[in-house]
Amino acid sequence: MPSRTLAVGRVSLEVRQGIELWLHGLIVLASIVVGLGVSVLLLVVSGIDVSNIFEEFIVFTFFDSAGLADVLLEWAPLILVGLSAAVAFRVQFWNIGIEGQFVWGAIGTTVVMIYDIGPGWIQIYLMFLGGIIGGMAWIAVPAFLRLRLQVNEIISTLLLNYIAALFVLNQLFGAWQDPAAVYYKTAQFADYQRLPLIGWGQIHVGLFIALAAALIVWLVTERSRFGAYMKFVGSNPGMALASGIPVTLTILVAVMLSGSLSGLGGYLVASGQEYALTIYVAIGYGFSGIVIAFLARNNPAAVVVVSFLMAGLYVGGESIQVFYGLPEALIGLIQSIIVICAVGSEFFVRYRVRWMR
């Protein structure tokens, strides 16, 4: 019989049979505090006076109208990439290409502007569709390769990120370049091509689109028959097939949904924040999505919460960068430390640790 206890030196690790929600939350919270502590230590070592750090990082981010508006603005695309990763991971399709699909969502949006498709009033809706189609198109290739030819999707989705980014560069240095712009981007979207602001900071209706997407994804994964199929395919594909579940179709639909959610993220940023296609449109979103889905254990409701915290981490990081005049790399380092600590808490969720005498 395999033992469920593992001894490493004087530490004994016991596999937990289950964990209460409060303990799980406490462990994650404690590890985030540890991450913050390490980050503060890092700042002290760098010779920075950290007496105001709490105020800068927490109060001005979450308890200040302008700060909170920035967080909410950042929240929307993070919800979408988090959902995108969660949906794909649920059927064990390791979509590392969220960034590429995000870029293609933005391209699909921009195409409507560049070629001035349809009457003006309908263009914002066409852009919505363009975003979804762009994201789906970019994931269709790895999905086909995986399901038909057993090509590992980790590699194919990852490499397609670079192709997407370079394609955007090619267009921005060429046909789609706005000659009037200072740096490389397309012309600005017209007013009717932009997502309407709701009148609080830069927040636009994209936030409601993202929240609605989260609700729909939650209903699909947690309540619909298709969601039940996804659970079986993700948990045991052999058993799912033997039970008569259409495994290939389930994976295909889930993957397409994942691509369209990423594409929708690209639409939100292009039509709601940048008002143009730029080379920076998707930077960082792909890996954020993966981290969010991991921390949320692929649960759509948890994705909404985790992506809010993640948005706070980004906005807070930017504000201390400005306040202390810190290099960008240091901020990235701090953000990564906090995320790694949160991810590392998984270990304590999984095992009960005991000291042996």
């Binding site: 619909s224 028959r225 659970k231 058993m239 097939l241 008569g244």
Partner: protein, 497 residues
């Protein structure tokens, strides 16, 4: 003189099932000792006790007349006991020398590699085979990997060597070479225990043979002067067959003709198999494990495509149908490997119970799966099948083997199945759970289902079946009516007839 090894009254049970029931074993230096028995007879369990992997519930062990309580694998190693497992424990991308070093730690890496390589060269020279210590494990053949395992154990100073089914993965020629090596080891004074179910092998290469059956030692005999038929009789025993009513068989329901199928590694394991099962009949397929049963079951489930041949249900061809369509036609499966095809371990009892009927709309619509319906139906099934200590939302991973199997049965026997393919349905279950599974299968047959019972447990096949077929090397080698002659089945299974 004291025996090299003496094991007395060894008892070991798992989940209330006796794997070893006062087993005895005795071997001497300088002999090759065959340990023979059917699957599940307790051979491997007994040897796992010897090499410290299992701690026995009771019993005594002595080596060279000195009594020992073996505390664990490293203690067994220190006593000179080494086991070569059926599934090799080698690290694929490492070299042979590195693997040997992993089991026999050296002080420094570089010097260690040199020392170990030297030792490997010397040993392989003595034993008459060649291996290159610098070759990587994933680049060498299975036979060579096995030699690495043997060398690994011998370098650790083992004098008492246990080999678990060593020839099952080898070609005939490789097997012959291995057996010669084993004899050479014994001549140098070692004690080699050869676990196997191949009669011919032990008769040709062992000095003495111990036969085990259902956890007990039947006898220890000298190989010379014993016939294969004697050994087969000892292996299968003389247990009486139950006196239950035979089934009232109807028309032919399941028809398999000329089926061939390959294993994942490309080896053809089902080779021209044909059989028919009637409605209201239990067809018991007896055979030693690894003769194509697994692939046959997978082909019938619809998760493995056959190479050639046809499967017919009530006269229509279902060879190419998706599992979903097969289920709709009433074909149900009780797979041998529950974790591969039976249950999703991380999901709940209710989810697993509902899995096969989600698509038919039994549990709500496309947009809304009714948890309440699932809960109610699952609770009823838990009650009907006496699955105690489990609730609808219990994770399946927490169920005992018996309860998990009863859950599979509850799901698969729901409604009126036309065909049930049950593969080793009682493997690892205790007596009570076994009886429950058997009752359910009989009841399904009495309702008119055609039951194909694939089992490596001969008692089970003989007790339950209306017709017994014997599978050997992927084909049916004989069919017997009820009551089937145990010795005849044993001979066909073991393939020397």
């Amino acid at each position: 003189m004291a025996h090299a090894l003496q094991m007395t009254d060894i008892v070991k049970s798992f989940d209330g099932r006796m794997a070893l029931d006062r087993a005895e074993f005795c071997a001497d230096w300088g002999e090759v000792h065959g340990l023979l028995g059917e699957n599940g007879a307790g051979k491997t369990s007994l040897m796992n006790v010897l090499c410290g992997l299992y701690r026995p519930d009771a019993g005594r062990m002595s080596i060279d007349g000195v009594e020992h309580r073996i505390e664990g694998p490293s203690h067994a190693r220190a006593l000179g006991i080494g086991m070569v497992h059926q599934h090799f424990k080698l690290v694929q991308p490492f070299t042979i020398a590195e693997n040997v070093m992993l089991a026999n730690p050296q002080k420094s890496w570089r010097k260690g590699v040199a020392t170990v390589s030297e030792g490997i060269a010397r040993l392989s020279d003595e034993l008459g085979f060649e291996i290159d210590p610098a070759a990587r494990i994933d680049r060498i053949s299975v036979a060579e990997q096995q030699r690495v395992e043997i060398v690994k154990v011998l370098m650790g100073g083992a004098r008492l060597l246990i080999l678990d089914e060593p020839t099952s993965v080898l070609t005939d020629e490789e097997a012959a070479r291995l057996l010669r090596t084993i004899q050479a080891l014994a001549r140098r004074g070692a004690c080699v225990i050869l676990i196997t179910h191949k009669l011919r092998e032990v008769l040709a290469h062992a000095d003495r043979v111990t036969v085990m059956r259902s956890g007990r030692t039947v006898a220890t005999v000298a190989a010379r002067g014993t016939s294969a038929a004697d050994l087969a009789r000892m292996m299968v025993g003389d247990a009486p067959v139950d006196d239950t009513e035979p089934g009232q068989s109807g028309p032919v329901r399941l028809e398999i003709s000329d089926l061939t199928a390959r294993r994942d590694d490309g080896v053809s394991t089902v080779r021209g198999l044909s059989l028919t099962v009637r409605s209201g009949q239990i067809y018991g397929l007896a055979g030693v494990g690894g003769n194509g049963q697994t692939e046959l079951a997978e082909v019938l489930m619809g998760v493995r495509a056959p190479e050639t041949g046809h499967i017919g249900l009530d006269g229509s061809d279902i060879t190419a149908l998706h599992p979903k369509r097969r289920r709709a036609l009433g074909i149900r499966n009780v797979p041998a490997d529950r974790s591969a095809y039976g249950l999703a371990q991380e999901l709940s009892v209710g989810d697993n119970y509902a899995s096969t009927r989600l698509g038919s709309g039994s549990f709500g619509t496309l947009a809304w799966v009714s948890r309440r319906t699932i809960g109610a139906q699952t609770s009823a099934a838990l009650k009907d099948f006496e699955i105690q200590g489990a609730a609808v939302d219990t994770s399946v991973r927490l169920l005992s083997g018996g309860n998990a199997q009863k859950l599979v049965l509850a799901r698969e026997l729901h409604g009126e199945p036309a065909v049930i393919v049950a593969h080793s349905p009682t493997h690892g279950l205790d007596v009570r759970a076994c009886a429950a599974v058997h009752d359910h299968l009989r009841a399904a047959r009495d309702f008119g289902a055609a039951v194909l019972l694939i089992s490596e447990d001969l008692d089970e096949v003989l007790n339950l079946s209306d017709v017994v077929g014997v599978i050997n090397r992927g084909a049916i080698v004989g069919e017997l009516g009820r009551p089937a002659d145990r010795h005849r089945v044993g001979e066909l299974m073991l393939g020397h007839a």
